[in-house]
Symmetry: C2
Subunit: 515 residues, 2 copies
């Protein structure tokens, strides 16, 4: 086990969650373990808002178990935070003492606005969305934040959550339309107290269990080909449709809904009603799911403090470096391959061979910097492994579509094989994507051949025209027999994908030893 | 890059190959890179068996490139071996000096029998086959060895290879049946000089490019679902069928054969004719493909010398430890989970709940010792990653069928999900396999829950009958709240898959601190 592990325990109104993180060498964090127990603390509040003895003992038992796991991992710091149920608990001070006595962990009860701010932090540091509304639906409260240019503008906590609203308003399942209407009115009225929400017409980003469940249901309904939730996009109206489906089913039928876990089948109606109301009030342009929430917000704040930053300037690069570290990739080689392939891409763009498309650079960046992922599995079938891993590793700051295309570029060999591999991802792709993959895949393949020894033997490459012929001019201080030999196959592909011949030429740099 | 890297360069009659190995902490080796160039050295021999200047310069160029890569990797030892073309080359001493001058590598020309012995060593240390005939079809010669009880009994090299026989006997493509017959007679006559081959009625294991190509063609014809060659099994007659297909096609049509590479399309007829003749003479019971050959034999001999062994006593365990090291798995935890799950399996076997089947132990061993593979990719969708990786990592000493079943056990969650995941591997499975996967998967899942903290908190487990009820009695010095909590879900599955209820009970070991 690695040296420096930290943990966050989030004592929520619906569930208690533990996450254990490993600190990486670039101020980064890798999630190494997590555990969840559904305690429903807000259901253990009596009429005077005292948490019952039963509620206390169940919570203590869970926290002791989490602490047991932290000790086993030799976690050096456990951050404990509590939210709505604890905020309103009359006996919270005594309870917090009991927790401290039992576990040695001092839980901090977060103000609702702080919880909202952490949700915002988690989202703007993990999704490439400049403007949006985050909505974190918990068991006892819902935190909403609005950000623009990635900066926090408004944030608020409202004391309505999936568990508490269920207890008060969802007395039967299926829920009659009239009762749903009543529930929606209550939510809507509360939201109207925050007029800044109205008609923002931006994306709404959903955090927490309700949002994840809605997304999972939608993915299963549509046989979504990727096993990824973070960054998954839906139309706002599709949330309404799912709300309508769940509320019209009795509890026992809801267990048949693919993607909905049993311990959420009762509170999903109230949870998705909150979500739906926020989407409507904002007149959301899109609904996006964030798998990152409160716990991640707390951790990213720590990372940002270490790095002396307010916000991660480049989410994508941050997460790429994280992955490179985790898989022990040769970073120097990866960056050099990116350089060489970018130099070719830039030259081609200047010649106008490819359409102006800012995505191309990002795709090539991801593919080049992570092209060696597959070799960590086995040196046989490397391309398949790279394709598989690029769809699975915790990559942030790119869309699912970006990821699929970058994976295809990184594993490109022939257009035929690419077409087969991408068949099941059709819905994420456009008409020209396969030929773009072939073109960028060829640039990357050539760059890899040119740095086959991983020693930057080829220092740079430029595409020039010599007597009407295209020439890739390489700068090097060395003989390049191996590189030329391996590049030959890619020059053939170049001819196919760009419909133009090209040849290699070496411009020997001064002080060469091997000329 | 890691510290201790070694390389083997094999200067063959058809191709020159480089393999770079990393020395592991358990005397193990992991292949980190390889490179191949098809030089066809035996085609550069003139009528006096002198290698032509052209042949020399092409070979030197390739060896310099390989050396360039070795230097880049900072390889500490390069072992160079040469085979048939060099054995018969009249000017070999001068050529070897030239190679040494150009690269600093002293190539050793292996006697044919040594080459055969290395093929045998590669096979018996990577495939769990006690008796068999290895046949390594090269460009200029074919090495054959017979082993029984994993011990070498006979070995021989015959000076017929895929390239040399093609030059002499395959003058047209397609090859008329009559000319094929002539070729077969030549081979058959030569094989008859080694009467020990006749009617051995054991498996024949094919090494080298011809055998791999035949297997690839067969896999593509049958849409084989696994991307694995090593250990792939075919019926001997299927080799005859493939020989017949290739020889009846003209060269340009052979490029359409899925699985056959272009630089082998001419020599595949002679190569598979040799293979076919050996299979017939042996009256082979089976044809098995080995992806390990000469180079691996050389390296495994070095490993065996370090370990002071003649042969690896347990190929499977050796390769599992290799994989555990490579993926930095927690070995103590892995072995403890194997112990706990084996204890349950043994108790169940005694009760006769499962059929006597020695495979069960092996499947559980692989699944338990490598169950954490998936976590190295991401802590989300861990089961899918484990399933994927177990089908891809370099696991030795088990059949493809074993691998698929072990992967399903290691990633077991529900029988429904298992059925879906195994659908495409149907041809490798028997009728009861899915229910065996569910049963062993449940034992493994329970063992994992019991060692969730990876601290061996549960020391051992036994299945006992208490007043007619089944009880899993755990020995521990600790409180086991977390373990009991996580085990609950697996006890429910236990009830389903074994049709019997079971509960947990702790037998506190003396000196307990937490009772």
């Amino acid at each position: 086990m690695p040296d420096e592990l930290k943990a966050v325990i989030d004592l929520g109104s619906n569930s208690v969650r533990l996450v254990i993180y490993q600190q990486g060498p670039h101020g980064t964090g890798q999630e190494v373990d997590n555990l969840k127990q559904t305690v429903r603390l807000s259901n253990h509040l009596d009429e005077n808002n005292n948490i019952s003895d039963k509620g206390i003992s169940v919570t203590l038992a869970v926290l002791r178990q989490f602490q047991q796991l932290c000790q086993a991992y030799q976690v050096t710091e456990v951050i404990g935070v509590a939210t709505q149920a604890m905020r309103i608990a009359a006996n919270r001070d005594a309870f917090l003492e009991q927790i401290f006595d039992a576990t040695g962990i001092r839980f901090q009860v977060l103000p609702g606005t702080e919880e909202a701010r952490y949700g915002y932090l988690a989202v703007v540091n993990s999704l490439a969305i400049p403007e949006g509304v985050t909505v974190d639906i918990g068991g006892g409260s819902t935190e909403i934040a609005y950000f623009r240019d990635r900066k926090l503008v408004h944030h608020v906590s409202i004391p309505y959550g999936a568990v508490s609203l269920t207890r008060e308003y969802v007395r039967s399942n299926p829920l009659p339309a009239k009762e749903l209407k009543a529930l929606e009115n209550v939510i809507s009225e509360r939201l109207s107290q925050h007029p800044w929400l109205e008609g923002l017409r931006c994306p709404v980003i959903g955090l927490g269990g309700t949002a994840r469940s809605v997304a999972r249901i939608h993915q299963r309904q549509h046989h979504y080909p990727l096993q990824l939730l973070h960054g998954y996009e839906m139309w706002p109206l599709e949330v309404t449709t799912i709300l309508d489906m769940v509320r019209s089913l009795p509890l026992d039928k809801r267990s048949d809904i693919a993607g909905l876990s049993q311990d959420r089948s009762d509170i999903i109606v109230a949870g998705s009603a909150i979500l739906d109301q926020v989407l409507k009030r904002v007149e959301a342009t899109q609904f996006v799911i964030s798998n990152k929430g409160l716990r991640d917000g707390i951790l990213v704040e720590k990372v940002l403090q270490t790095l002396k930053l307010d916000i991660l300037p480049d989410i994508l690069m941050y997460s790429i470096e994280n992955i490179q570290d985790h898989f022990r990739l040769n970073r120097k080689h990866a960056f050099h391959v990116w350089n060489l392939s970018s130099q070719m891409l830039n030259a081609i763009m200047k010649l106008g061979w490819l359409p102006e498309n800012r995505d191309l650079n990002r795709w090539l960046q991801v593919a080049a910097l992570l092209h060696d992922l597959g070799r960590t599995v086995s040196i046989y079938n490397v391309r398949s492994h790279t394709f598989y891993l690029l769809l699975q590793v915790p990559l942030l700051g790119v869309s699912h579509r970006d990821r699929v295309i970058a994976a295809a570029i990184a594993s490109y060999k022939t257009t035929k094989q690419t077409t087969v591999a991408l068949a099941e991802y059709q819905e994420l792709l456009g008409d020209d994507d396969i030929s773009l993959v072939a073109q960028l895949g060829t640039l990357l393949g050539l760059a890899r051949a040119l740095d086959r020894t991983e020693t930057s033997a080829v220092e740079s490459v430029d595409l020039v025209s010599v007597k009407g012929n295209q020439v890739l001019r390489l700068r090097s201080r060395q003989t390049l027999d191996l590189e030329f030999n391996l590049a030959a196959e890619w020059l053939k592909k170049w001819k196919k994908v760009f419909q133009r011949e090209v040849r290699l030429e070496v411009e020997q740099v001064a002080h060469s030893e091997n000329v």
